[in-house]
Structures are given as C-alpha cells and as structure tokens.
Symmetry: C4
C-alpha cells in the first residue's frame, strides 16, 4: 500500500520492520499455522506506533504493501486502509508491556484443538517439559507455565478486558489462547516472539499427545 | 495437448487460466492432498465454457498441456481427449452457481477419513471455530456451517442429482464430501476456492482431533 | 560405481534408468518413507537384467554410482559390489510378473505400524475407498483390495516362498507388507509403481485413522 | 565467533567439521526436531578436543561462527564464549566411547512425549522392528534394543552419573532419553549418528502409534 509515514519514522526503519514481518509470516505459513488467510502479525515501530499486517491476505504470499502503520489507539496513519478488527489485541500488548516489540497471532490445528479442549478449565498448565525454559524467568522444567484460554467473541473490547484483568491481577502472561480460534504470543524482538511461538506449538502438541496416549 | 480454441476465447485468456490451475495443483500436491494422480481442478472460462485438468496426470507435475477446454455440457471442444468422468460435478457448479469461477476436488487423508466417519449422518456440522468466517456470510464462530456427505457411486448422474436436491431445497452449499473419496469446494475466483479448501481441511482435521481426544 | 555393462545393454539405457531410480528415491526420501538408509528400489533393464540400489546408502543423497546392474538370479554383473540381501524379492517380481518394470520397497511409519497391527490377520482388506481405483482392474470403490502381511525373517528364501505361494494360488498381488518392516509394490513402469505406493500409503493411513477414531 | 585454534588443530580440519555440524543442524531443524533454539550438536576434533554448537541459536539458521572449540573437560579454548550447560553430556561420550566422533541431541515431539510415557519404566524396549538393524551389532528384528529414560534435572553431574552407571554395568548404550526433554545419540561419524537418530525417531514414533492403536 502507498502510505506516507510521519516525519519521525524513517522510511528505512519501516522497510526493515516490514521485511521482518513478511519473512516471518512466510515461514509460519509454510508450517501451516496460518490457514485460509487467518492470523496477523505486528511489530512496534516507536513509542506510539506499530506496523501490522492488513487483514485478509494469504500469509504465504505477503508483500511489503500488505503491512500498514497504525498508532497505538489502533488507527491507521495517513491511509484509507482499515486495520484488522483484532488490531486492539496487538496494541494492548505494546501499551501494557513496554518491553515487547513483536506480537504473533496464529491458528495452527494444535492451537485451535487445544483451545477447545481446555476452554472449560480456562487455563493450560504446562509442567515437566525442558522447553518451558524458552520463556524468560523459567529456569527449570519443574516450574509451572500457565497459558490462559479466553472465550471467543467477535467483540474485541471483551477480549481486551479479559487480558487486562489477567495482567491487573499481577499474573505472568507470556501468551493466551482464544477458544476455537488461535494463540497470541509476543517477545522483546521478533526472534524471541518466534521462539515463544515455536515452544508453545511444541508444548501444546506434546500435551495433546500425552492426553491421547495416557487414557 | 494441442486443442484449437473457439474464436470467442482469446488464447491469452486460456493460457492465463491454465497457468492458475497448474500452479494451484502443484501447491496442493505438495501438501499431499492429491495422492496417486487423484483430484481434479477447473475454472470457468466464459458463460458456456470451462478449463479442466485431464484425468490421470500426477498433480505435482501438471503442465499447460494437461488442461483442456470443455463446454458446460461436459463435452471436449475441438479435441479427441476425453474429460474426466467427474467433469459433470464441475460443470454443475458453473451452471447452478453463476458467481462461481473455480472448482477444486481433492483427496486428502483428513477429507477421506472424515467422509467415512460422517457418512451415516450424511452431514458434518461445524460450530465454534473462528475459521468458519473464511466463508462469505459467516460472521461469527457461533454460526453453524453444514457440509453434506454424499454416498460414493461410480454413476455421476446419481451424485449430480444429490447435489441438485440439496440446492433445490434452498440450503446453503459451500462444499460437499463424497464417502471414502474426497471433497468438492469452489469460489468466486481461485483464491477464494483455495481459501475455502484450506479452511475445510483445517476444520475437518480439528473435528477429527477433538473426536479422538474427547472420547 | 564403475561397472562395465554387457554389450547388449546400451550405456544410455542404463544411465536413463539410473536417473529415474535416483530421482524417485530422492522424492520418497523427502516424504520420510526411507528412514536411516533403509528401503531399496529397482527397475528392469531387459529380459535378464535389472538395476538396483546398492544397500546402505542414504536415499535422499543417492547418486548414479549407487545403482548397480544385476542379473535376475540376483548376481552382480562385472563388479565386486554385493547387491542387497533383499535383491531376491525384486528379481522374483521381474521373473514371475513379466509385465512389471519397476519395484519399490519403502519403510514409512504408517507402513511399519500397519504391518504390526495386521500381522496376525495376515492380510489387510481395503474396501470403500475411491483410491483403490489407482490399481489396474479396480473400477469401483466397492471392490476389495487385499494386501498380504507376511512374517518378517532374515532368511530371504522364506519370504520368496511366501510370495510364490500367494501367486501360485492365483490370487491377485499388487503389493505386500512384511511385519515390522515395510512394503513392496511395483508397476509396469516407474510412474505406475509410484502411483501404487502413494495409493497404498494413503489407504493404510486412512485405515489406521479409522481404527483410531471408530473405537 | 573468532576463536584462535591450538597449533595442533589445522584451520581446515575445524572448518570442515563446523561445516558438517552446520549442515546437519539445518537438516534436523527442517524436520522440526530442534524447536525454539533447543538441541545441540558436536563432533570430536582430536583425542582432547571437540567442536560444539553455542547454546541459544536457532538451529535452522546456524553459521560457522556458532560452532566453538572445547576441550574434553568442557572448557572453551581461547575464547570468552561459554559452552552450553549440557556440554558435559557430549564430552562424556567422547571420553568413555573412544570410537565415537559425533553426538546429536534433539527435541522432537515424538522424543519428548515418549520420554514422558516411559519415564516410570526407565527404559523403552524395542523389538520386532527391521529398523533396529540400523545399529551396529543388531542383525535381526528379533533382538531387543533398550533405550534408557533418565529423570530430567538441571544438575548435569546427576545425568552424567546416570550415564556412567549404565555404562559401568556393561550394558550396551546407543542412545538415551531424558524425561520431558529429548534424546542423545551418537556415531562413529556424523553419517552414523544421523542414521541412529533417524532410526530412533522412527522407532519411537512407531511405538507411540502402536500404543495408541492397540488399546
């Protein structure tokens, strides 16, 4: 898309961020985690802006023109393009967790199935897996990593409120699932966000396998 | 194949359509959804014609010459090549749903297994999945998306009659399964048809996983 | 390997056959059906000879030099290289089924697991799948396709005798499994052998899924 | 990393070993066996040194600079980089099994799930699989291949002691699992180590499938 940038954001910075998002999106699409034009990805640009994927594009064929600039109230900057309805879930992370610079939302089969199975519990407790150490602050497999599962809704403010409530309670939050939908996770940079996503896809898959095999 | 086109169909139009079919076929073959030369794909060319894959070719190695022109009665145009026996299921969609421009028939393991498991019910009810929104008119995960499962037969008129009956009853139809066989789905263009196919493969896979894990 | 060919076999013929085997092996290795240097592949060269893979090579990295010429008694022709112990199962097909020109033996997880589950029955009955039509003579999903499962043994003559007994009884044979081991299938040319292998991998996978989901 | 080599280790030797490790790591990453920067790989350089991956790097994007030289006491040679905490498990193999020249540690979902399921037994017994012959000394599917499963701990000396105890008892050891973690295996060269890893991934996957399907 042809979007003029505010004077405070260098074109090269935006290009470099768009590059990172496009490359990440293609890799995740190849893994099959973004079926049927689902999923969206973003990166913080500065204290007041982020770059985010335009909704409805096939993530395996994303191009620079499919990334748009928004402010952290979720408004498009100098363009008529309308950002995704789920933009509010991205900006919420940037506003509430100032260290975070990348947010990934995907839809793998494992993520969707796990969200349905644990929706009633409202949380997935992960324990005993070495890979929990992929998250900062987790130094042993003996720790417990809790991933909340929120009910799905087409009303974004309801979801925003649930995430706020979790954070307001002072509980650690590295990711969350939405029932029948997918996962949100994030990181201090894109490499960390991808590491968290890979670790969660792996851990959720292991939990489903254990459940299948232990019954 | 060397097939002469009617004067009303520009060679460049046919080439471009053949290109789209060949590229889509290769991508779906890579996913393993077209085993053992199964599956066929088509696109509408104009009000009276479609382009369709010649039967018996490996879909991962399809070339332009493997695409033939047919009229909507299912006859080959100016060629001795015989179109696939399943051609009637493609032309039926173009005749009854004038907005549709692409039809995909694949054979993934998930599609075939789901068709066997739900054959007695005659329908798969999908509900609670965000990805149902991949279909036009579905704006919430709370809606119900019904995919009929028809009995398999080697007599195409029987299948055509079942599809007609479903449509004549005024029921929405975005796709159907044939027992022990595979899926048919379509779209207003190839991108939409692929989106529907990806969404259905995903949703059927999720339903099978839930069934496995909930027992 | 540097192997001198008999005068009756043109170098170009042997090169072309080695090419076909190498390319097929790489494709099957990519699918994960040849783990840990397992599996072997061959093609008939003439009425008295075949080309076969040397044992112990990684099938994803096969080269022309990894293909050797043998006579149909299983002896290497003009070379010190020793053909695989399982060579006798390839030559048996060429001797008993004169129309067959390619034999594939692979080790996918689906093939190995199915062989264990159906070893006691001694046969897998496939019925109700459209893809059975991948086999010549099968024109409907209603037909029954029987794949015998033979006990594993390190004594090749025992296996040869079991295959002979099945054929001597006049029963159709398109493929067989060996318990805990893998599959053998063949075709009138390599394309048909690959079609049979893809169809069987698919059908065995579907049967395992149905079994898992129907209980 | 810029690491100066001892005079006794030719730069070309180290380069060639780093090459082998990097290429192997990329192939294993493509298979999904190294999620979220997990896993580590090494090769013996000479009687007193090994080359090993620096921890925390994404294994699909490994470069020469991500391989470091260590002595067999696990100390970095002429560099400030700190080798992985799990280095002691690699050097133990080189010290106790002088014929071994490559050690692979991966984290596939199959490996992690199998380790949890068999943790109480403390061992996985593999029998009846042709692919057991991928291990030197195993000439028939009738043999029994035992893979111990050790409890996970963040204290490496505890794990080293368990491996020592197994070896001190004179029991054959080709690989071991760590509960909730992953697998260690090795070979006389990298090709053999990869063959062992492929065989074990396959055999563990088959065992899980059998367990799922036999209940």
């Amino acid at each position: 898309m042809s979007q003029s940038l505010p004077a405070t954001i260098p074109a090269r910075l935006f290009e470099s961020i768009a590059d990172t998002i496009v490359n990440t999106a293609r890799e995740l699409a190849t893994l099959g985690w973004t079926p049927a034009t689902s999923s969206n990805f973003s990166m913080r640009v500065d204290a007041g802006h982020a770059a985010i994927t335009i909704s409805g594009r096939h993530k395996g064929r994303l191009e620079h023109g499919d990334i748009m600039l928004i402010d952290l109230q979720g408004n498009a900057v100098d363009t008529d393009a309308r950002p995704s309805a789920e933009t509010a879930l991205h900006t919420q992370i940037y506003l509430r967790l100032p260290q975070m610079h990348a947010v990934l939302h995907t839809h793998s089969r494992t993520q969707s199935v796990a969200s349905r199975l644990y929706a009633t519990d409202g949380v997935i407790r992960l324990q005993g897996w070495e890979l929990q150490k992929a998250f900062a602050g987790y130094t042993t497999h003996d720790s417990v990593l809790k991933i909340p599962v929120f009910p799905n809704t087409q009303q974004m403010p309801e979801l925003v409120a649930r995430v706020d409530a979790w954070l307001d309670a002072g509980r650690p939050l590295h990711a969350y699932l939405i029932d029948g939908h997918g996962i949100y996770t994030w990181g201090r940079d894109m490499a960390e966000a991808v590491r968290h996503l890979e670790a969660l896809e792996f851990l959720l898959g292991c939990e489903l396998d254990l459940r299948r095999l232990s019954s």
